[in-house]
């Protein structure tokens, strides 16, 4: 069964460093998403991406964040200058196949720790 994959599973970085989180969405999906979950808190929407541009974004997704689909399979989230409060589990998701199914399927997550 197709699934969303994410790399790395864990990332430790120093405050102020740039990180790139990578995702491979389900191959026939058209919409891609990033969510985050700070430890002990709710899963929060960051951004949705369609047709090589941002479709929607939350107030969390400020200028420090960017997303890109560099090729036909990968979808990345870049945090330019990490802050302590960026420590969280980051989930990638994808949805909408050619039949129009709206369900978002999530990857296993990348746990980011900013020191």
């Amino acid at each position: 069964e197709p699934e969303v994959t994410q790399t790395p599973s864990h990332q430790v970085t120093q405050m102020g460093q740039e990180v790139i989180l990578r995702c491979v969405p389900i191959s026939n999906h058209l919409y891609f998403y990033w969510y985050r979950q700070i430890l002990g808190q709710k899963v929060e929407f960051l951004v949705s991406f369609y047709n090589n541009e941002i479709s929607e974004k939350s107030e969390i997704f400020d200028d420090q964040f960017s997303v890109e689909r560099p090729d036909g399979s990968n979808f990345t989230l870049k945090i330019r200058s990490t802050k302590l409060e960026d420590s969280a589990m980051y989930f990638c998701a994808s949805s909408v196949d050619v039949a129009g199914g709206k369900t978002q399927y999530f990857g296993p997550g990348t746990r980011l720790l900013v020191l």
């Binding site: 998403y33 969510y35 479709s55 929607e56 989930f91 369900t103 399927y105 999530f106 990857g107």
Partner: protein
């Protein structure tokens, strides 16, 4: 912003018992998604409900959406240790399902 309230926050049941988890919204929803999360892992899709009064079942799990589309329940019959985890409801507020708002989750423990 529209909040989703989940109850209970945590639930401990004996194996074989039935249980219900609730998810309530202050506003009408376009869609309601149930996911299961094991601690520190990804979200596994369980069921999606879109129509008022809709009910779906998969194996021993049944989800319902009320007629007003503001409240959903997830019912597990004859619970097993494999049902343990965190159950999350996610709301589609716009109809596009491109931005889900999640509840705080219900931590389920099933004692063997």
């Amino acid at each position: 912003s529209q909040e989703l309230e989940q109850s209970p926050q945590s639930l401990i049941v004996q194996e074989g018992k039935n249980l219900t988890i609730n998810c309530t919204s202050s506003k009408t929803l376009y869609g309601l998604y149930w996911y299961k999360q094991k601690y520190g892992e990804g979200l596994i899709f369980l069921m999606m409900l879109q129509k008022g009064g809709e009910e779906k079942s998969h194996e021993k799990i049944t989800a319902k959406l009320d007629e007003k589309k503001q409240q959903s329940s997830l019912h597990i019959t004859a619970s097993q240790p494999s049902h343990a985890g965190i159950y999350l409801c996610g709301a589609d507020r716009s109809g596009s399902a491109r931005q889900l708002t999640f509840g705080s989750g219900t931590q389920l423990t099933v004692l063997p």
